[in-house]
Structures are given as structure tokens and as C-alpha cells.
């Protein structure tokens, strides 16, 4: 296999501000008509007229179209190729979902539209909540949070409200060292203190470790399952018992639900509250592709604290219920990122019960296929059967002075998006691969071959890796200077 991807047709593209010329317009408006402008339409009041903007681009329509089309050709997305970014679940987003979200009844729905005219949208929200309850094994769901970390924040606020209500001033939240970085941040935002929990040599949390940290100051344990090493937390039910016995909650970061759909219900594991990422597990675009959605699923014990409004149904009519005195209030304008919910709803309906289960199984098999094929070439710190993703390191390449970053950069030359690097922090020099269920065996084999070639290059031609990527429009960037002296704004010379 050769490193033969070649990005770009255009090596260089001037900024839009550097294109065009003075007086050029994209659209020709009709000449001002005297009758039209003065007689029936008095001039606009001055406060509605803007001042001229200096240096505003003056370009034709085709210049604009070419400019942005060229920029888009430098892009790499899941529609271009494999995007094995661990922890991000970059699965394919079926175009059907986009078509459904474009239906005018959804795309033109106005958030201030009265209830009787919004019954279809409300039906969708109500039903998606019930689908997600079923998939997670929880009692209720709110679709309001706009992304995963926002879901964490909303969930922690509910836990906080519960204890405030019970006059129980708990201050701590236990967080394993394999958590997402957003977990301690969300916990701190809610005024709790994050207490780290060390995972064991197998990469999971021991029940004894939790027992030693658990007391009546602990509001919750917040763990990710499968965790960020891509390993299932086998002790989860025992851990849940320990936490429950001292009156705490078990919060699950459900960002990795893609490994479990239709196979494991979070609610059956003793989990009381979890957030889900529609933009990961349920195939709605993310990254540059669109806003996220981070619904929170709860057991009934927390239902009084759900954000308002709650969508309820009475005699076949849906309505907003704001009458929730203990609610944490609103966490997002209106009702969440509604069109993202539409796409997730379309995905669940097209996949169905067996399709979702198949997606999770395939995601797990794909990750294990890559892991097994590459384990003789790259060091694996926790050599166990993984779930939907796995972590390896550059340890075998140290003797050639090749590191994680070099390996990741070289993958670009082979036409692949690099995996996540230097995360999770609990593994030194980590590379984290999540192929998702999207990829065919042929694509996985191409990736595996590229990785084997890179291992060989590391040994025989390490300079090649040090300078990679060589075939990309932008080769190795100086990240240090960029971070220390960022230039955030273009200025005319």
C-alpha cells in the first residue's frame, strides 16, 4: 500500500476580502423607480440604515460560489472517508434524515406557533422521548439540552435540586479517571467538588475503590460506560449498590451508548440518570455539520426536577406542561435543537429494534477487528476485548523516536482522518480508534494496512513520519507558535 492520497486542486485560495474589486456586486437590483421609492414608500428612517462597512468584500456571485466550493474541497468529512475519531462516534449520517428534517412542517415550524398548530412536532418530541426511554431503560427523558456537556450540566442540576429539596447538603461527586473531561467541568459548574476515582490495571473501576470514597457527602458517581478506554465497566451493578446504600445517585455519561443499543439498558445496571448524544449514537451530524443534542434520561425519583415545559398528552392532544414547581427551569430556549431530534427520530424509525442492535454489534466487532489485526504492531495498554473503540500507544515506536502525533499525521497521507490522540489522559501517548458500524471490511482492511505500513516506516524511515503529512495541502503545522501567538483576525496589509 502506498501513501498516495492527494488532497486539493487549489493549493492556495485568497481570502474573500482579497478578492473582487470596488463596486462589484453579486446581485443587480432594479434601478430605483421614482414613483415606487418616494410616493407610497417614504424613505427608511435613518436608524434603520446601516453605516457603510469598510473593506467589506465586493464580489460577484460566481466568485463567492467558487471561493466556498474550493474551501469545501479542502475539507475532510465522514462523507469523504473513514473518520475513526475515538470518543466522537463519527458514523455516517443517512441523507434520508436530512430529507425528513427538511419537510416544511418541521423546517418552517415556528417556536411561538400555538399548541393546536404544533401537534405534529409535539407528537415527534413525545414519541422520541419514549423511544429513548425504552432504549436506555429509564422512565423519563428531556430533549432540551443542546449537547452532551449541556446534558451533563442539566442532569447535575437535577441532582442538586433533589438534594436541596431534601435539605441534604451533599458536596462531592465521584468521577473515574477514565471520564470525559467535561464531567468534572459540569460538576464544578453546579457547585460540586469532583473527586477522582482511580481505575484499576484492567482499565475499569473497582467496587472497593468506590466503597472507600463513598460517604454521605457524595451526591453521585458520574461514570462513562463503556468508559473512555472503550471498556465496559463490569462492576457497575455492585458500584451502583454501594452508591445507593449511602443515598447517592449513579449518573452515566451515555456518550458511548453506540456500543450498547438494544443489548444493555442503562436502567437495568442501577443507573438513575444518564445523558445521550443524539449527534453521536443516533446519527445526526456533528462537528462542523450541525448543532448537537444531549437528552437526559432519568428514573422517576428525579422526575419532579425535569426542565420545563414537559410535553404531555391528554385525550390524543399534546400540550406543554409548565406546572412543575420543583423543576430546574429551562436549560435551553424553547424545546431543544428540534430539527436534530427530527433526524434522530427518523434514524430510530428506519433502523428499528433489530437495526439498532445490529449497529451496536457491528460497531463492537469493527473495533475488535482492528484491535486484533494491529496488536502485533502497536502497544495496547489494556489488552482485553473492547467495546466500540480501543486505545493503543506509540510505545513500540519509541525506540525509533516516533510518537503518537507522527503516526496520526502520517495517516493523513494514506487518505484517512487520524484517530483521537492524547486522550484519554489516563493512558500516556494514547491513540484512540473508533471505526463505528459504518465501515465495510474493505475500508477497515485499508486502514489496517495503512497502519501496518506506518509501523514499518517508523522503523525504516522515521523521518518520513516526522515530516508528515506530505500530501496534504497544509503539511506539519507549528502548533506551538499557533497556540502561543494565535493570529485570530485577518488584517489588510
Amino acid at each position: 500500500m502506498n501513501a498516495n492520497s492527494r488532497q486539493v486542486l487549489w493549493k492556495k485560495e485568497p481570502y474573500i476580502f482579497e478578492q473582487g474589486s470596488s463596486g462589484r456586486e453579486g446581485i443587480s437590483l432594479p434601478e430605483e423607480d421614482e414613483d415606487f421609492s418616494t410616493q407610497n414608500n417614504p424613505p427608511l428612517p435613518s436608524h434603520l440604515l446601516r453605516e457603510p462597512i469598510n473593506d467589506f468584500p465586493e464580489v460577484s456571485e460566481v466568485e463567492v460560489v467558487r471561493h466556498f466550493t474550493r474551501l469545501s474541497q479542502w475539507n475532510y468529512g465522514v462523507d469523504t472517508g473513514l473518520y475513526p475519531l475515538g470518543s466522537c462516534t463519527m458514523k455516517y449520517n443517512p441523507k434520508l434524515n436530512e430529507e425528513v428534517a427538511k419537510l416544511s412542517g418541521f423546517s418552517f415550524a415556528h417556536p411561538h406557533q400555538p399548541e393546536p398548530l404544533s401537534q405534529g412536532a409535539l407528537h415527534l418530541i413525545y414519541e422520541l422521548e419514549s423511544f429513548l426511554s425504552e432504549i436506555t431503560g429509564m422512565d423519563r427523558v428531556t430533549l432540551q439540552p443542546a449537547a452532551g456537556a449541556h446534558g451533563e450540566f442539566a442532569g447535575m442540576l437535577m441532582i442538586k435540586a433533589y438534594f436541596a429539596d431534601k435539605k441534604d447538603a451533599r458536596i462531592k461527586v465521584l468521577i473515574p479517571d477514565t471520564a470525559h473531561g467535561t464531567n468534572p467541568a459540569s460538576v464544578s459548574m453546579c457547585g460540586f467538588k469532583a473527586v477522582p476515582v482511580k481505575s484499576n490495571k484492567d482499565g475499569i473501576v473497582d467496587k472497593d475503590t468506590v466503597a472507600s470514597l463513598m460517604d454521605e457527602d457524595v451526591a453521585a458517581i458520574m461514570l462513562t460506560n463503556p468508559n473512555t478506554l472503550g471498556i465496559f465497566e463490569l462492576n457497575i451493578t455492585d458500584i451502583a449498590d454501594i452508591v445507593h446504600k449511602k443515598g447517592g445517585f449513579v449518573y452515566c455519561d451515555g456518550a458511548n451508548l453506540n456500543a450498547l443499543m438494544g443489548i444493555v439498558k442503562l436502567g437495568d445496571l442501577g443507573i438513575d440518570i444518564a445523558h445521550i448524544n443524539l449527534h453521536k449514537t443516533f446519527s445526526t451530524p456533528h462537528g462542523g455539520g450541525g448543532p448537537g443534542s444531549g437528552p437526559v434520561a432519568i428514573k422517576n425519583i428525579l422526575s419532579d426536577y425535569l426542565p420545563v415545559p414537559i410535553i404531555e398528552k391528554r385525550e390524543k392532544r399534546y400540550f406543554f406542561n409548565y406546572d412543575q414547581p420543583k423543576s430546574i427551569g429551562k436549560v435551553k430556549s424553547f424545546y431543544g435543537n428540534f430539527l436534530v431530534c427530527v433526524k434522530a427520530y427518523a434514524y430510530i424509525l428506519t433502523m428499528g429494534n433489530s437495526g439498532l442492535r445490529e449497529a451496536s454489534k457491528t460497531a463492537v466487532i469493527n473495533a475488535n477487528y482492528i484491535r486484533t489485526k494491529l496488536k502485533n504492531y502497536y502497544h495496547i495498554p489494556h489488552d482485553v476485548i473492547c467495546m466500540h473503540e480501543y486505545v493503543f500507544t506509540d510505545k513500540n515506536q519509541h525506540e525509533y523516536n516516533v510518537n503518537t502525533l507522527d503516526i496520526a499525521k502520517r495517516l493523513i497521507d494514506y487518505g484517512f482522518h487520524p484517530p483521537t490522540i492524547y486522550f484519554p489522559l489516563v493512558v500516556k501517548q494514547a491513540l484512540m480508534v473508533e471505526p463505528t458500524e459504518t465501515e465495510s471490511k474493505e475500508t477497515l482492511d485499508n486502514f489496517i494496512n495503512a497502519m501496518i505500513c506506518i509501523a514499518d516506516e517508523a522503523k525504516n524511515n522515521p523521518d518520513l513520519l516526522k515530516n508528515a503529512p506530505l500530501n496534504a495541502k497544509i503539511t506539519r503545522v507549528d502548533e506551538v507558535t499557533a497556540a502561543r501567538n494565535p493570529i485570530l483576525k485577518w488584517k489588510r496589509d
Binding site: 490522540i421 492524547y422 486522550f423 489522559l425 500516556k428 502548533e479 506551538v480 497556540a483 502561543r484
Partner: protein, 129 residues
Amino acid sequence: MVFPEELKYTDQHEWTRIESDSATIGITDYAQQSLGDIVYVELPEIGTEVKKGEEFGVIESVKAASDTYSPLTGEVTEINEDLQEHPEYINQSPYDKGWIIKLKIKDSSEINDLMNSHQYQEYIKSETE
């Protein structure tokens, strides 16, 4: 990598230099190497009370952001302002120009819990295996 004999070390890879009731604190040569090029350092305010084992600041490198943990309990008396402009001092000179804060030590018995240079080197070895 260098680990001066006169310093004390923690399992979170901070060093401290004790001079009567004052402790100068930074991160070790090993820590700066693992973090890679440091691009930003968040410092506490003078007068902040820090507790042993608790975070007092953040170090950001091109790879990751990491909390820095205090080896001892005490009050922050000085901070290394130069690091705002020159975070690379921590890479270039972790034990000298790259110092981060100075504390007025509250409980000198805590010093006994810290590692000496030899113990710390053994600790790194056990961690990297």
C-alpha cells in the same frame, strides 16, 4: 532527565524547594517532557489558601490541559508572572526559571509525606512500566 537531590517530589509530578517556612513549587522535568510544549499557565492569586493534594492552577500544552496540585498546605505568597509571557520557561528550565508559585507553609509535618529524588525516580519507573 534531571531530578535535583535537594528537592522534594509528589506523585502528581510537582517538585518543591523548602527554605525555612517557604516552599517554591513547580513541575518536574518528567512532567514537562510528558506534557510537551507548554503554551499557557493559569496561576492562582497571591493570598490564595491551597491545600495539600488540591489543584492550584492549570498548565496547557499543545497536547492537553492538566491541573497542578499543591504538594503542601499553605498560602500563596508569590507567583511567577514571567510564565504568562513565557510559558516555555517550564520546558526550558523546570526547576529554576519555570517555578510556578511560592507558599508560606502551614504544616511542616506534611513535608515528611513527600518523596526524595531517588524515591521519585523509582516511582516514575514503576508508573511507566
